[in-house]
């Protein structure tokens, strides 16, 4: 693959970077990244990966754009209200960068379909807003040995980590089970500072680009805690749990679990991505 004139100009400020160059740009164009949730996290992740020329971006979201999304989901405009997010995101991203391929998935990920969706991709970025999806995505990525870029936020605080199965801890190494339903208020009830979603999403986008390029130190086994009010960033070293229910040799989870089915959460709260 060799870069054409338009690509050279479009990506020039990135090609100039030490450790990127033409070969790095070709890696980006050849990369396939799946973004789960096109909301507060998915918006910045998708925008910056599209801008950087990540060649194939899959976007999973079953929701429609609502007015209350627009304070933090910058990929959408007021005209998009009522449209399916994955489709509206595709339209926006194709205008940002017609050089790449956007694949929308208007569906809810379940234990039945997730393996089929993620198998096409090199890296998975979790931008979901609920524990059943987070655990489903974590387990699926461990089972399929896909690198997962985790991110989450709540009110004024956010978290991020890179999960590389076999090399570092997974979500269950830290938190073996999702919290019981009702214990943690959903984002809808708790509120969130829109700009915080951007900060966490851009940590995820940056980590994804580093992973594709093979540069720097990825956040494997390093859990980022970001506090917007203090503007503080803490990086915790996290180890693999030898008894992890999914990623250890003693794993007890051999298949995928659809938590919502027995958690009894309202489907409306599950289907809204941040």
């Amino acid at each position: 693959m060799s870069l054409n004139d338009i690509q050279i100009e479009r990506y020039s400020r990135q090609i100039l970077l030490p450790q990127v160059g033409g070969k790095g740009q070709e890696k980006l164009l050849a990369a396939k990244v799946l973004i789960i949730g096109a909301g507060g996290l998915g918006s910045p992740v998708a925008s910056y990966l599209a801008g950087a020329g990540v060649g194939t971006l899959g976007i999973v979201d079953s929701d429609t754009v609502e007015l209350c999304n627009l304070h933090r989901q910058m990929i959408y405009s007021s005209d998009d209200i009522g449209k399916k997010k994955a489709i509206a995101a595709q339209a926006r991203l194709e205008r940002v960068n017609p050089d790449i391929k956007i694949v929308p998935y208007v569906l809810r990920l379940t234990s039945e379909n997730i393996m089929e969706v993620i198998k096409e991709y090199d890296i998975v970025v979790d931008g979901s807003d609920n524990f059943p999806t987070r655990y489903l995505v974590n387990d699926a990525c461990v089972l399929a040995k896909k690198t997962l870029v985790f991110g989450a936020f709540f009110r004024y605080e956010g978290q991020a980590m890179v999960i590389k199965p076999g090399e570092g801890p997974c979500l269950r190494c830290m938190f073996p089970e999702p919290p019981p339903p009702g214990l943690v208020p959903s984002c809808q009830e708790a509120g969130v500072l829109g700009a915080l979603a951007g900060v966490i999403g851009l940590i995820q986008a940056t980590e994804t680009l580093k992973l594709i390029l093979g540069i720097g130190e990825p956040l494997i086994g390093k859990f980022i805690l970001f506090d917007a009010l203090e503007m503080g960033l803490t990086r915790l070293d996290v180890r693999r749990d030898g008894n992890c229910p999914v990623c250890s040799e003693k794993s007890t989870i051999k298949g995928l679990v659809d938590y919502e089915e027995f958690c009894g959460l309202k489907s409306s709260s599950l289907e809204t991505s941040l």
Binding site: I8, I15, L16, G21, G22, K23, G214
Partner: protein, 86 residues
């Protein structure tokens, strides 16, 4: 600069900064270490910036020669550059 064997050349007259260096960098990436690239550059910013960037990326400037209103620069590709992924 007489007697230096030129392996590749690129005419970047009319190409502004920093796109002229982007094209230089991509050309150098395709070449083997130790090979010589001849670059034609405009006066002004290009003749200041492009040789400087090439040096920063670890390449060796062998010579700069002024010809009617433009410059000819010879660069030897380094063995280990920080200019791109290997």
């Amino acid at each position: 600069m007489e007697g230096i064997r030129i392996d590749q050349n690129i005419d970047l007259r009319g190409v502004s900064c920093p796109l002229n260096y982007v094209r230089t960098k991509l050309k150098l990436e395709e070449m083997e270490a130790g090979k010589i690239l001849e670059i034609l550059l405009d006066d002004g910013e290009p003749i200041v910036n492009v040789p400087r960037s090439a040096k920063e990326d670890g390449h060796k400037i062998l010579g700069i020669e002024q010809i009617d209103g433009y410059f000819k620069v010879l660069v030897r590709k380094s063995n280990s550059t920080t200019g791109g992924l290997e």
